[in-house]
C-alpha cells in the first residue's frame, strides 16, 4: 500500500483517484486472504525480525483501517490536494503495518512513518495555522517516538528479544514504552496535540487523522499492556477530560477532536480492566468508533467546505439547506452516544458490562456517567449548534457527490453494525458471549441518554457558545516555555550590557588588574619555573580539599 501510494504521483490525474481508492481495498482483500498465524521473518543485524504476522486482533484493526482509507479517499477525492491523499495513503498503510508487526523494531519503523505522513496530511491544508500546528504536532510525536525507542532499546538489552507481545510493567523500559504509546493515544498530560492539530487539517485531512494514530496506540496497548490497572484510571481521566473540554469548546471540529480523546478513554479503560469481555469491548469499540467518528468529521468537514466557517457561534440553522449532511451528522452523533440500533450501543456496552462483571462499582458508575456525558457533548451539542440552534442565515447546499456518497456509506455502516452486530462480534479476538439487546439494557440506556438530553435543554442558557478557546497543557509549551526563554534572553542581554558599561571600564582601570597582569606576564611567561607550578598545583589541591570537606 505504501509502495502503491508512492507510485500515485506518477499516474495521470484522472487515474490517480481510482488507484488510491483501489489500493486499500486490495489491501483489505489481502488481509482476509492470508490465514491466521501466518508470518514472515527476516534476519536483520543480529535480530530476527517479523515484519508480517497475522493474528485476529491485528486483522480487526487493519480491516477497519483499510475501510477507512478507502472511504476517506473517496470523501476527499476532488477536494483534497493530491499530496494529502498520497500522504494519507502512506499514513494508513503504515498504520496497517503496525497491526501486523511481529517485532518491536518493525513496529517502531512503521510508527515513525505514521508520524511523518500524518504531519504531511496536516501540512497539506496549506494555511499558516496548519503549518504551525503541524510543527507542534511533529515535535510532540518525535518526542513520543524517542520515549518509545528508549523503551524498546531498554527492553531489548535486558531481555535480548525483539518480539512484540505482552509486557509487564516491572521495569523502567516498559514504562517508557507505555509512555510513548500513551502519548499517541492522547493520554494526559500531553493530550492537547489532538485538538490542537487535527482541526487545522483540511476537511478530509481531519477525517484521516481521526482514525489512525490514536487507534494504533490503542492496538499496541491492547497487545502489550492488557490488564494493567493504571490504564483504567488513565482511561477514565481521558473520558472526563474529553467531555469537559468539549463542553467548553466553540470550534466544531475541536469539539469532535476532544471527543476522540473521550472515546479512546473508553477503550483504554477497557484494556485496563483486561478481561476477555473488556478486551473484546475495547477492540469492537475501536472498530465502531473509527467509522462513526469519521462520519462526524465528514459532516463537519462538509459544513466547513461549503460555508468556510468552523465556529459554533457562526453556524446554525443549516438543516434547512443541508438535509443529507444533517441526517448523516445525527446518525454519527447517535452512534457515538451509543443509542440502541447504532454501532456504539453494541460495542461500548461491552466495556461497561465487563466493569459490572468484575464488580468494579466506581468504574461502572463513572462509565455510566460518561456515557450520558458523551451524548451531552458530542451527541447533542455538535448537531444542535451546527445544524439547529439560532438561524445563522447561511443556506449552503449539500456537498459534492463524492463527499455525500462517503457520508452515506458510513452512516449505513453505523446503523448496520448496530442492528446486526454478529459479523463484528465474529471477528473479535475472543468468542463473544454477550447479547446487547436485552430489554433491561435498552431501557436503562434510553433513560440515561434521554435524561442527559433533558439536562442539555434544561441548562441550554449555560451552554451558550462564546467565542473563546480553553487553555490546556499546550499552554506550557506554547506560552510558558517561549516566554521563559524570552525572559532568559533579556536577562542575558541585560547582564552583557552591565558588563560592557559598568564592569569592563572599571576593570580596565583597576589597580588589581594592572598588578595581576604584571604578575602573570612576569611569572608565567618566559621565566616560568617549576616552583610556580608547584605553588599553583598546591593551591588547586588545597581548594579541592576545602570543597571536599565542605560538601
Amino acid at each position: 500500500m505504501i509502495a502503491g501510494a508512492l507510485l500515485a504521483p506518477l499516474l495521470p490525474g484522472r487515474a490517480r483517484g481510482p488507484w488510491l481508492i483501489a489500493l486499500p481495498l486490495v489491501a483489505l482483500a489481502v488481509i482476509w486472504a492470508v490465514p491466521l498465524d501466518a508470518m514472515s521473518s527476516i534476519e536483520f543485524l543480529d535480530y530476527t525480525l517479523t515484519p508480517w504476522q497475522m493474528n485476529s486482533i491485528g486483522r480487526l484493526f487493519a480491516t477497519v483501517f483499510a475501510i477507512m482509507a478507502a472511504a476517506g479517499t473517496l470523501y476527499g477525492l476532488h477536494q483534497a490536494r493530491p499530496i494529502e491523499l498520497v500522504a494519507a495513503q502512506i499514513y494508513a498503510g503504515s498504520a496497517i503495518g503496525v497491526c501486523f508487526s511481529g517485532d518491536l523494531i518493525t513496529l517502531f519503523a512503521y510508527w515513525e512513518i505514521m508520524a511523518l505522513a500524518s504531519t504531511v496530511v496536516i501540512w497539506s491544508n496549506g494555511s499558516e495555522r496548519a503549518y504551525r500546528a503541524s510543527l507542534r504536532y511533529v515535535v510532540m510525536h518525535l518526542f513520543g517516538g524517542v520515549l518509545l525507542m528508549a523503551g524498546i532499546a531498554g527492553h531489548v538489552t535486558s531481555t535480548g528479544s525483539v518480539a512484540f507481545g505482552p509486557l509487564a510493567l516491572d521495569r523502567a523500559a516498559h514504562w517508557l514504552i507505555l509512555a510513548g504509546v500513551l502519548l499517541n493515544a492522547g493520554a494526559p498530560p500531553l493530550s492537547a496535540w489532538i485538538p490542537d492539530a487535527y482541526p487545522e487539517a483540511s476537511p478530509s485531512g481531519s477525517v484521516f487523522l481521526s482514525a489512525f494514530t490514536t487507534k494504533t496506540a490503542v492496538f499496541v496497548l491492547w497487545v502489550a499492556f492488557a490488564g494493567a490497572p493504571i490504564l483504567v484510571w488513565v482511561g477514565l481521566y481521558m473520558i472526563f477530560y474529553g467531555i469537559i473540554y468539549a463542553l467548553l469548546e466553540n470550534d466544531m471540529r475541536r469539539i469532535l477532536a476532544y471527543s476522540i480523546v473521550n472515546q479512546v478513554g473508553f477503550m483504554v479503560a477497557g484494556i485496563g480492566i483486561g478481561t476477555e469481555m473488556a478486551l473484546n469491548g475495547a477492540a469492537a469499540h475501536a472498530f465502531a468508533h473509527i467509522i462513526y467518528k469519521a462520519l462526524l468529521l465528514m459532516s463537519a468537514g462538509a459544513v466547513l467546505y461549503m460555508t468556510g466557517k468552523r465556529k459554533c457561534t457562526d453556524l446554525g440553522g443549516l438543516f434547512q439547506s443541508m438535509p443529507l449532511t444533517t441526517v448523516c451528522g445525527i446518525v454519527g452523533a447517535l452512534a457515538i452516544s451509543a443509542f440502541p440500533l447504532t454501532s456504539g450501543f453494541v460495542s461500548k456496552s461491552m466495556i461497561s458490562q465487563a466493569a459490572a462483571d468484575e464488580t468494579l462499582l466506581w468504574v461502572w458508575l463513572l462509565l455510566a456517567a460518561a456515557s450520558a456525558g458523551v451524548f451531552l457533548h458530542a451527541g447533542i451539542k455538535f448537531p444542535w449548534f451546527v445544524f439547529f440552534q439560532k438561524d445563522s442565515g447561511l443556506r449552503p447546499p449539500d456537498p459534492p457527490r463524492n463527499m455525500r456518497v462517503a457520508m452515506v456509506l458510513f452512516a449505513v455502516l453505523c446503523i448496520a453494525l448496530g442492528v446486526y452486530p454478529a459479523p463484528l462480534y465474529a471477528i473479535l479476538p475472543f468468542p463473544v458471549d454477550y447479547i446487547p439487546y436485552t430489554a433491561a439494557h435498552v431501557i436503562t440506556q434510553l433513560q440515561l441518554l434521554l435524561f442527559a438530553g433533558l439536562a442539555f435543554f434544561a441548562l441550554l442558557p449555560l451552554m451558550r457558545r462564546t467565542n473563546t478557546i480553553t487553555l490546556d497543557t499546550d499552554w506550557l509549551y506554547r506560552c510558558l516555555t517561549p516566554a521563559a526563554w524570552h525572559q532568559l534572553e533579556r536577562l542575558w542581554l541585560a547582564l552583557r550590557r552591565i558588563r560592557d558599561t559598568r564592569i569592563q571600564p572599571w576593570w580596565q582601570e583597576s589597580l588589581l588588574r594592572q598588578q595581576l597582569h604584571a604578575m602573570l606576564t612576569s611569572r608565567f611567561s618566559a621565566r616560568a619555573t617549576i616552583g610556580n607550578f608547584v605553588l599553583l598545583t598546591t593551591l588547586v589541591l588545597l581548594s579541592y580539599l576545602v570543597l571536599y570537606l565542605l560538601f
Binding site: 504551525r132 472526563f240 467531555i243 469537559i244 463542553l247 467548553l248 466553540n250 465556529k311 440553522g317 438543516f319 434547512q320 459490572a356 462483571d357 464488580t359 462499582l361 461502572w364 458508575l365 455510566a368 456517567a369 456515557s371 450520558a372 456525558g373 451531552l376 439547529f388 438561524d391 430489554a439 433491561a440 435498552v442 431501557i443 436503562t444 440506556q445 434510553l446 433513560q447 440515561l448 441518554l449 434521554l450 435524561f451 442527559a452 438530553g453 433533558l454 439536562a455 442539555f456 441548562l459 449555560l462 451552554m463 462564546t466 467565542n467 473563546t468 478557546i469 480553553t470 487553555l471 490546556d472 506554547r478 506560552c479 517561549p482 516566554a483
Partner: protein, 84 residues
C-alpha cells in the same frame, strides 16, 4: 421580505416536541416495570436509577465545565501573537 420560518422551528412545533419528549421520558421510566431490571450492584436497581443518575451526572458535568471555563477560557485569538 421576511421569510416564513421553517416548520421545524415554529413555536408551535417546538411546544409539541417538548410534549413528545416529556412523554418519551416518562415512558422510559414506566417501561422499567415491564422489563426485568436486575441491577449489578443493588444501587442501580432502584427505581429510575439511570434516569436520575444520567440527569444528575450531566448537570454536574455542565456546572464543572462552567466553573473551569471561568478559569481556563481565553479569547479566541489568544495564541495568535504568542506562538513561537
Amino acid at each position: 421580505m421576511k421569510r416564513t420560518p421553517h416548520w421545524l422551528v415554529r413555536r408551535s412545533t417546538i411546544r409539541l416536541l417538548w410534549i413528545a419528549f416529556a412523554t418519551v421520558l416518562a415512558a422510559t421510566v414506566a417501561a422499567e416495570t415491564i422489563g426485568d431490571l436486575h441491577g449489578h450492584f443493588g444501587v442501580d436497581a432502584s427505581p429510575g436509577f439511570s434516569a436520575w443518575f444520567g440527569f444528575g451526572a450531566c448537570v454536574a458535568m455542565i456546572l464543572l465545565a462552567k466553573l473551569l471555563g471561568l478559569i481556563l477560557k481565553r479569547p479566541d485569538g489568544y495564541y495568535d501573537n504568542r506562538d513561537p
